[in-house]
Symmetry: D2
Subunit: 454 residues, 4 copies
C-alpha cells in the first residue's frame, strides 16, 4: 500500500491528524494495537479516572450539602465508567466510518524511513509512506523490586472492563506524581483507606513548591501520605488479595497492610519496533521534536507522549494537528505553544495552572507582579461550602501581560481555561480587569484578582 | 457632612466604587435602606436563587448518577441559602470595617445636585457632595389585576430569612423572563409541579430565537409552560395557601390550582426621592448614561440596574468601577463594554451567551461564520449523562475575530467566561483554535468548535 | 501538461501563490502576456507612478527647505523610473529561477474547469489542472466620445519605457478617482499646469466626505479642479501634440487647451478568453469570491483586481496567499480581511486610511468615539514645514477597540500601517495610548491622539 | 503656596504630567530653569539635531536622485532649526496658557519631602506639596583632560540660537555613543570631514553586536572612525578655531587637526539641590524607580532621564503620564513598559529597534525564531536608491509572539512603530503575516518577513 501518511497510534496524538489530513484529500493509514481510537487516555487514563472522580466528588457533595446517608456503589461507578468509555469508542468508530482513513488493529513495525509493516490480525500489511507520524504514546513505568509483580498500575484500575470492581478497604499507592495523588483522592472519597508512599520529601516534582504546599494542606486529612518512604518489598499474604508493603523510613523498616497496591511511578514513551532504523534523535524525555513537532528526520513527526514534552491528552491533540498542518503546507507553518498548555491535578479539591509560575519566572529572570483573590470570598465556593483556595495571576512587570496563573480549589480545571486563553494570547492585567466575569461563578475571582492591582 | 462622593445604594453598583474611591483617599459616604452591602443580588436575588439552584442540581445528579433515593429537604436547603447570605453579609461588614467609607442604613433623599439628606434610623444626615453615584438598583414590577395581592415575587421566595420554607406542591409562575424560567427549573427539580403562564408566544424576549428554542427543547418535560396565556385573575380558596389562577387561552377562560403563585413580570429601576430635582435625562430603561456611566449631569453617575442597560450584578460591579475611575481621573478614562458582558440563564440545564448573536449580527449587517461543537461528543457531558446542547461561536467573516458565542448545556455559566474573554479582546478563530483546552473539561468544545473552520 | 495548479496572471495576485504552492511541492504553471512578473502595478501602475511621485516630492522639498533653484529633468526622472522597474523585473526573474514554477509568456484560454491552453509565443500548451487561480487583474476603462482616441491613460504615462519623456506644459486629466488626483499632484509638482475635469460634484467617490474635503483643501492651489464638468469632445489642433478639450459646465460648453490629455475613468476586470465556460458567478465589481477567495466553482480562485473587491497590490498579494493556503489545506483555513487593508492616496500631501470610517460606521449603526491630533503640533511636520493635516482614530464606544483611522499629511502611507496593525488586531485605545511612539516621528501623533481620551 | 503636585523640570518628563493632573482638577506648580517647556530635547537635543539631520538627508538625496549641484547653507539650516524650536516654544506657551498649571522659570530646591523652594527670577517661592515629580533630566557628562575646555558638547552645537553657524571644515568627535554617531553622520552629509575617536573597540555599547556591525558597514565611508583610540589632550592652535587632538592608538601618540572638537561621552542625571534630604534610593543610572515610576519615597515620582532607565523623550513622556495616573488613582494603576520603547539611531542611514534582541534573548534563555526581509528587494528602498539593510523580527518559539525587532535602513524610525505596536501587544507572527502592509512602502518588508515562516 502506498500512502501519503502512515500514523502509528490512534490516540490523541494520532487520530486528529488522521482526520485532518484525510479532509485535505491525502491518503492516510493508521494503526493501533488497541483496535480503538482514543489511546490510553480513553482506554485506561483520563476519561475513566475522571469519570470515577466526578462520581466520587458528587458523592462527597451529596453527603455534605444534602445530608444524604446512602453509600455509593463502586461496582456501579465502574459500570458507569465503562459506559462512558463505550460511548466514546462508538463515537470514534462513527467518525472513522465517515472518513476515508484506513484503520488497522495492530502494531507498526518500521522498516526504513519510507517503509513499514502493519502487523494486523489478518496478516502483515506492507506500507510505503511519504510521511510518518509516530503517535505511539507512553506506558506506566514499573520498577522491579521484590513483590512488584503483585502491584497494579493505574491502567489496571481504570481500564475498560477492568476486573477491579470491588472497593478495596485499604490501599497503598507507591509514587508521588499526579496519578498517585488523584487516585488517592478518588479512592479515599469512595471509602477506601489510602496510604501514599513517596520516595523523596516532595510530591509533584517540578511543580512550583508554593502551589504544591497549598494543595497538600487542602487534601483530605484521611489520606495518609508518607514522605521519604521508599518501598522495599511487597509481600502477598495468603491466597487472597492481602499484601504487606515494606518500606524504609529514616533507615527503619516499616510496613503497611493493604488489599490493593498500586504503582504510580511515572510513564515512559513507547517506540514501535524498528524505530532505531530511522536514526531519530532521542532525548531525555523521548523522541526529540521542535515546536513544529518534526523529528530530526524531516518526513517524520512525533506528537504526544512519545516525545515526552507535555504528556497530556489535550496537548497531544494540538500537537497532532500541528503535525498535520505542517505536512500539508510542505514547510513549517504551525507551531506548538507548549508553554500555554493548561494542566490540572484532579484531586479533591483540584488545582490547575498554566504558563510560567513564580519559581520558573525567577529562574528566567522575569520580574513579576502577583495578583490574587481568595476563594473564601467567592460566592460559588461558599455555596458549595468549599471556600478554600485561591486564584493567583502572574503578570510581567512593565507590560503587565499575564505569563501564568493557578487556581487552587473549586472548578479549577474549567476556570483555568479562561486564564489559559489570556496567557496564550498575552492579555494584559487591564484587559482581564475590564472583563466582567459571570456572577455568581468562581470565574469572578479572576477579574477580581486582576482588578486588585488597579 | 461635606464629602467627595455620596453613593446611594450599597449593592453591586455601589460598594465597589465606594471601596475604590476610598482607597484613593477620597471621602466617601454610602447609604442603603437594607443596612447591608450586596444589594438585591445578595439579599433576594442571584446569590440565594443560585444557591438553591446548585442544591437542586446536585439532587438531580445524585439521583441519576448515584442512584440515590433520599429526598432533599426544602427547609434545609433554605437554611443553607440563609447561611451563604450571612457569610457574605459578614464578609462585606469586614471590608467596610477595613475601609474609611462611612455607611448609613437609610434612604437618600436628593435636594439638589450638590446636596442630599440621608434618612438614617438615628436621624437625618445632611450631605454636601462633589459627586453623586446613583446606585439604587431595581425592584420587581408587580402588575395589578384581581387577586394580584395573593402573588409573591422572586424577592419573597429568595429573600434572607424568607418565610417560604415549605416546598409548594403545585406552583404557578406568571411571566416568561429568565427569573420565571430559572425558578421553574429549580422548583421542578426540588419536587414541585410547576406551571408557567406566558402572555405571548415566546419566552426570554429579545434573546436570539434559535437559542431560546434550543433551551426550551431541553427543559424538563414536567415543567408545564403555556404560551399565549395571559393571566386574568387569582382567587384565594379557603383560608389556607390555596389559589386558583384564571387565565385566557385562545379566547377561552382556563384555570390552574396552586399553593403558590409567583409573579415574574420584569424589574424596573428605583429612583431615590427627589431625583426629579437633578434634571437627569431618563430613557426607556432608566436613567440615561453613556459608556463612562455619567448621566446627563456631569457630576452624577448611575451604574447598575438604575440605568437598565445591563441588569446583572457583574455588570453593575464593573460599571461601578468605571464610575469610580472616571471620578478619580477628572475626565473620562474608563469605558463600560456593555457588549462583552456574559449572560447566563440558570435553568437546569443552563444556557449562557455573550456578545453579538446571529439575529443581532443580521440586523447590523455583519456577515458571520458559525462554528460549533455538539456536547453529545463531549467527555464531561457524557460523564454526567448530560450530553445535550452545544457550544457555538460567531466570527466576523474576514477578520475571523469572534464577536459572540453561546453555550447550551453543561457548565455553560462558567465556560462562557472563556468565550467572553475572547469576545472582549477580539481574539481570532485561529487564536482560539491554537489554544489546547484542558481535557476532559467541556471547555474542549470551545477549541474544537474553533478548529472546525480550519 | 498535467499540473496541480494553473495560474493565469503573474501580478501581485498571481506570483505569491505560485511561489507558496511551489514551496509545498505542488506542480505549478503560471502564464502572463507581459512575460514578466509584477503585473500592472510594476509595469505601469503603482511602482512607476510612486517613483515619479517621490522624485517630485523631493524636488518640492529641496526648493522649499534648501532654497534650491535647479530644475528637475522629466526625462531623467522617467529614466530613474525605468531603472527601478528593471531592477524589480530582474529580482522576479531571479525568484522564478530559484523555484520550480513553470512560467510562460502568453494568455490563458479556458477550455473547461479542468483544462486550458496557454497561448505561448512558441505555440499552444495544453494544460490539465486540479486548481485554477484567475489572477488576470484589471485594465483602465476608456469611455468612447469624439476624440477619445487622442487621450492617453495612466498606463501610457507610467509604463516601462514609455514614450512620454517630455514634460507637458499643460495637461487635462479627465476623472476624479485616485489615479486622477495622484497624477495631477505629481505633474503639477514637476512643473506642468494641470486641469482636472470631474463629471460630478465630488472626487474619490465612496470615500468618507470629511476626509475628501480635508484632502482637497490641502492640495496645491495651482491644480485646477473643475467639478460638474463632464467632457464632451477632445479635438486635435494641428499635427503636433496640441488638443482642445471641450466640456460642459452649467449647460454651457467650455474648453481648455492642453498638450496632453489623460483619461482616468476607472478600471475594470480582465477575464481570460473562455471564462464563460466556467460558469462562474460574476458580480458588479468582477468575479464573485468570498473571504476564502474561492469563486462559485470550488476548484477556482480569483484573487486581486479580477474580483474588484479591493483593487490594490498589497491586497492582491495577501489574497493570492489566502488562495494558496486554502488550496493546500483542502478546506478553508485562511480568510482575507478586506476591512483591514490600508489605502493611501499618493497626492502631495498624501492621505491614508484603514478600517471603518465615520460615514460607514453610521451606516452600520456603530457608535464611535473619535480621537485626533493635529499635525500642526507635530515636530516632524514642523521640521518639513508640512504642518497641516491630522491623525484621527475611530474607536467603538464601550470596547474602545479601534475600528478605523486616517492620516492626512506627512508620512501618511507609512504611518497608516501602525494604525492598520491596530485595526487588524482589534487593539484598544488604551493599548495604543500606552505605546510610546518614537520621537520625533509623526507616529507620535498616533499615541497622542489615543491618549486624548484618557 | 500649598499645592497637590510640584513638578521640578518642564521637559518631556514634566509637562505631560502637569497637564494631565491639571485636567483632573489638581493644583499643579511646575518650574524649570530654562523658562520654557520641552526640556533638553527641544532646547538642544532631539528636535534641533533631527531637524538638521532631515535637511542633511534631503541634501544627500537631492544630489543623488535629482542630480542637483547646489550646496546647502549651514547657516540657513541652523536658522530653520531655530525656527522649528521657536514654533514649539510658542506651542507649549499656548498649552500652558490654556491650563491652570502655574509655571516658574527657576530651579527647585528641596527642603523636605513635603516642602521646597522655587528659585524664581523674581524671588523665592515657598511650596508645600503632597506629591513631588522629579523631572530634572540629564546633562552631558564632560570628562576632564588637558584641553577639554576647548571641546563643545552636542548642547553647544544644537542649542537654540547657537553661535555655531559656520560649517566646520574638519571636526573631531570624541565618543562612540549614538550622539557621536548621529552628529558624525549629519556633519559629514553637510560637508564636514569628520573623525570619530572611540575609546574601546566598539560603538553603541550595550546594543546587540550584529546590529552594530550592520550599521557600521553602511555608514558613509568618508566618516573616519578610529577604534581603541582614547583621547589624551586637545591643544588650541593660534587664536582662531584650530585645534590639535592628541590620542593614543596601540600605545602610540597620534594626532588630528580640526576646527571643531565635540565631546559626546554620555549623559548623567541632574538632581535638584537638596535632593539628598529626601532619602531617595539612588542606583547606578539615577534615582531608582519601579514600573509605576515611584521612587523609594512614596509621594515622590521620578520619570525620565533622571532615573536613567530609558533616556529618550518619548519614554519620558509616557513615564510622566504613568506618574500622573498613579498620583490620581492613589494606588498603582499604570505601569511603564520599558521593554517596548522603540529606539532609533538617526544616522544616515538610520537604524531602529524595539524589544528583546537576540543577544538579550540568549541571556534570558528565550528560544527565538528569526524572520527577515532584505531591503534590497523593497520597492521604496529601490526608488530612493537606498536598497541596503533589512527588517528583522524575533519571535518566541512556540507561542510565535513577537518579542523584538530591528530595522536597518530606509524609514527605520517611522517603521519601527509598527513593529513596536506588535511587540507591546504581544502579536503573533501570524497576525503580522495576515496584515497587508501598504504598497509600495517599506513597511511591506514587515509582513513579508513575518510571512517567510509560514
Amino acid at each position: 500500500m502506498i500512502v501519503d501518511v502512515l500514523i502509528a497510534g490512534a490516540g490523541g496524538a494520532g487520530y486528529p491528524a488522521a482526520f485532518r489530513l484525510d479532509k485535505a484529500g491525502l491518503k492516510v493509514v493508521m494503526a493501533d494495537p488497541k483496535g480503538e481510537l482514543g489511546g490510553n487516555c480513553l482506554y485506561q487514563g483520563c476519561v475513566p479516572s475522571k469519570t470515577l472522580r466526578e462520581l466520587a466528588h458528587l458523592y462527597v457533595r451529596a453527603k455534605k450539602l444534602l445530608g444524604f446517608n446512602e453509600t455509593i456503589s463502586f461496582e456501579k461507578a465502574q459500570d458507569h465508567k465503562d459506559f462512558v468509555q463505550e460511548t466514546r469508542f462508538k463515537q470514534h468508530k462513527q467518525e472513522l466510518a465517515e472518513s476515508s482513513v484506513e484503520f488497522y488493529k495492530g502494531e507498526v513495525e518500521i522498516i526504513d524511513n519510507h517503509h513499514a509493516v502493519i502487523k494486523d490480525e489478518k496478516g502483515d500489511v506492507q506500507v510505503e509512506y511519504k510521511y510518518l507520524i509516530l503517535a505511539t504514546g507512553s506506558e506506566p513505568f514499573k520498577p522491579k523490586f521484590p513483590g512488584s509483580e503483585y502491584c497494579i498500575t493505574s491502567d489496571d484500575l481504570y481500564k475498560y472492563k477492568t476486573s477491579i470492581r470491588k472497593l478495596p478497604k485499604e490501599m497503598v499507592i507507591i509514587g508521588g506524581g499526579y496519578i498517585a495523588l488523584e487516585t488517592a483522592s478518588i479512592m479515599n472519597a469512595l471509602g477506601t483507606k489510602v496510604h501514599v508512599l513517596v520516595r523523596s520529601d516532595r510530591v509533584l516534582r517540578g511543580l512550583d513548591s508554593r502551589l504544591v504546599s497549598s494543595l497538600l494542606s487542602m487534601l483530605d486529612k484521611n489520606i495518609d501520605i508518607r514522605f521519604n518512604s521508599p518501598v522495599i518489598e511487597v509481600q502477598k499474604i495468603g491466597d487472597k488479595d492481602e499484601y504487606k508493603v515494606i518500606y524504609s523510613e529514616k533507615s527503619e523498616k516499616k510496613e503497611i497492610s493493604a488489599d490493593l497496591v498500586m504503582l504510580a511511578t511515572g510513564r515512559r514513551p513507547v517506540y514501535p519496533k524498528g524505530t532505531e532504523k530511522l536514526g531519530l534523535a532521542i532525548g531525555k524525555t523521548g523522541i526529540m521534536v521542535d515546536e513544529t513537532i518534526v523529528t530530526s528526520v524531516k518526513n517524520i513527526y512525533a506528537p504526544g507522549d512519545v516525545n515526552g514534552r507535555s504528556m497530556f491528552f489535550h496537548s497531544a491533540v494540538r500537537q497532532s494537528l500541528v503535525s498535520a498542518h505542517n505536512i500539508l503546507a510542505g514547510t513549517p507553518i504551525d507551531y506548538m505553544d507548549f508553554q500555554s498548555v493548561p494542566i490540572s491535578v484532579f484531586t479533591i479539591p483540584s488545582i490547575a495552572y498554566v504558563g510560567i509560575l513564580p519559581e520558573e519566572a525567577k529562574r528566567r529572570g522575569i520580574d513579576i507582579i502577583e495578583a490574587s483573590y481568595p476563594l473564601s470570598k467567592d460566592s460559588r465556593a461558599q455555596m458549595y461550602d468549599e471556600a478554600e483556595g485561591e486564584v493567583r495571576l502572574f503578570f510581567e512587570r512593565g507590560s503587565l501581560r499575564i505569563i501564568g496563573g493557578w487556581i487552587i480549589g473549586i472548578d479549577a480545571p474549567t476556570m483555568i481555561n479562561e486564564i489559559g486563553t489570556a496567557v496564550a494570547n498575552g492579555l494584559t492585567a487591564r484587559q482581564m480587569a475590564n472583563y466582567a466575569d459571570q456572577h455568581p461563578m468562581s470565574n469572578e475571582s479572576i477579574s477580581y484578582a486582576a482588578r486588585s492591582i488597579f
